[in-house]
Amino acid sequence: MKTVWLSLAALSLAGTAAVAEQVRVYNWSDYIDESLLQKFEDETGIDLIYDVFDSNELLETKLLAGGSGYDVVVPTGTFLQRQITAGVFQKLDYAKMPNAVNLWDAIKERTAQYDPGNAYSINYMWGTTGIGVNVGKVKEVLGEDAPVNSLDLVFKPENMEKLAACGVMFLDAPTEIIPAALKYIGEDPASVDPEVIAKVEPLLMSVRPYVSKFNSSEYINALANGDICVAFGWSGDILQARDRAAEADNGVEIEYNAPKEGALMWFDQMAIPADAPNPDGAMKFLNFIMDAQNMAAASNYVYYANGNKASQEFLNEDVIGDPAIYPDEDTMKNLYTVVPYDPKVQRTVTRLWTKVKSGT
């Protein structure tokens, strides 16, 4: 017994002696080349603790509760803007991050609408919200001329009724689906007027019975395995599903399309909470991420475009050359952005969303 206590004591001593500097990062699921995490630890000697989430709402709950314990978090632009107002973040010290010169002005201008002067955040990745289809199954159900590049596919009840048999998933993110529905009925997708937003209710209620699940992370695997044939989701996730299916060689062929009616363009921003335990370590991590080769490795792995101009020469051709990831001029014109809701409108939006999801 005595030896047990002794060894326990020795262990705890060793534990305290070995506590290295730590950085805790909270990022979206399936959103980085995991070998980069090891590389960061090797280069800096900092212990990296990497956690993942799959909804902005969840992240915001943790941030607003305070004391989340994270040093780096990755909210989407609209959420970031609200959170800055709530005093969640601390300003970045660009002097400590020399790699910031690699950032892409075209993206910085756009993210400045959420974070003026990019004082609190840097862009990690950006993308569009659109439709992923299992080409074979959708054509089998809807025929050769299935509208795979149009919102008709997911917002026309007669199409959805047929697709329900092979499975449809929607993002569980009202801030992504409601703007698309507004666009589809010819309203301003960025509207924050509760009366305008209410107009999408009949449309969403008419297709909801055919949605097998509202979820923001399960559709990558479900699409790749052939469990579902349509996903209303994020560009890179669907492209990851395409790759997983190709790797598994299971006869599933996945395709991503930004809807021709217009697609939502969003920006995921890396920021440092005001109460981060290790802000210096956090800035070392941001600097590491802004390294051109590291950022390129991440994009090559997750199939999302990034806000790093210098990384573009290291991107694979199937990333930089794919208009679904780096849209050409024409598609770019068709993309829209949205603004955050204030708390009152937020309640209308989430209530509408609960109604859509549960039918009540």
């Binding site: 909804s55 709402e57 969840l58 915001e60 709950t61 941030l63 607003l64 509760a65 305070g66 609200r82 107002t85 709530a86 005093g87 969640v88 499975g167 909801r208 949605v211 097998s212 699940k213 509202f214 395995n225 052939g226 469990d227 708390p343 937020q346 309640r347 989430t350 209530r351 969303w353 609960t354 109604k355 999801k357 549960s358 039918g359 009540t360």
Partner: protein
């Protein structure tokens, strides 16, 4: 002597006060607040630095608005009812599956009992989350069950079990089964076998003896088991969110959504307070009823 008694009684009360009453009061206080975009995400917060006036202001900021809100929206009572329905049906199903297992265990030879007991407890050694997740692999459209049935030619199209209430029932019954088996088993095991013999000697058939002797004697075990299944099933969140579809309306899910999607802590707390009342009141009434019945029986 008196001091000792007082101390003994004080311990459980202190425990209840610290781990039930205090958290409940905190939640109740948040339920009376308004949501705000700040840290923490509600207002007012108690600030003692301003002395008496700030305490007065704090109390003036509290109101029952959120409870009124719950009555105005059909979503909430519908989800309470949905949860009650799912929890009741699951409890009955668990009892129906668990009783025969417990009975068989109690009837088996002495040397087998530890092994059987082990088999019931063994799944607990695996994480609850993993056990629920593995059902996805079994009942999904491309899952084991459908592949097997399709392969044997029993069905032509995959059975849609995943994302339906059936999947939720399967998940709950599977997860909570040991909580039903163990109390029933312990009641049956303690039962004196000679009582059955006496019953049979007095002219009962085996079935009658079971009905008139075994079943009433195992009633406390059944009641304990039903409570152990019903209460957690009512607030269950993980199982419906992993196995159930968008149509499964349960209060645990609504609570989670109020908290994490709406980020409206005050309304979420109000939902939690109501859920607690719904649970506590019938249990207290039942307890009172039991006590009366016991006294009447004496």
């Amino acid at each position: 002597m008196n001091l000792r008694r007082l101390f003994l009684i004080a311990v459980p009360y202190a425990w209840l006060g610290l781990f039930f009453l205090v958290p409940f009061l905190i939640v109740f206080k948040i339920a009376l607040s308004d949501s705000a975009l700040s840290i923490p995400p509600y207002t007012p917060t108690l600030d003692l630095s301003g002395g008496w006036t700030s305490i007065k202001e704090f109390f003036q900021g509290l109101d029952f608005e959120n409870f009124v809100f719950l009555t105005e929206d059909s979503l909430y009572w519908k989800s309470y009812l949905g949860s009650l329905k799912i929890a009741s049906i699951s409890t009955v199903l668990t009892l129906a599956v668990g009783y025969p297992i417990a009975y068989a265990m109690a009837q088996s030879a002495d040397e087998w009992r530890p092994t059987l007991m082990m088999l019931v407890i063994l799944p607990f050694w695996t994480s609850f989350l993993i056990r629920v997740y593995s059902w996805v692999g079994i009942i999904s459209n491309e899952g084991l069950l459908n592949q097997l049935l399709l392969g044997m030619g029993v069905i032509d199209t995959p059975l849609q079990i995943m994302n339906t209430p059936t999947a939720v029932y399967i998940g709950i019954v599977y997860t909570y089964l040991p909580f039903m088996i163990l109390p029933i088993y312990s009641a049956l095991e303690k039962m004196d076998g000679s009582l059955i013999e006496a019953g049979v000697d007095l002219g009962c058939s085996k079935l009658q003896a079971f009905w008139l002797v075994t079943l009433p004697l195992s009633r406390p075990g059944m009641i304990a088991g039903c409570f152990l299944v019903f209460i957690p099933a009512l607030g269950e969140f993980v199982i419906p969110s992993l196995l159930g579809g968008s149509k499964t309306l349960m209060i645990g899910k609504v609570l989670w959504e109020e908290f994490f999607s709406n980020r409206d802590w005050p309304v979420a707390s109000a939902v939690a307070v109501v859920l607690l009342l719904i649970l506590v009141i019938p249990i207290v009434l039942f307890q009172k009823n039991q006590e009366k019945a016991e006294e009447a029986g004496r």
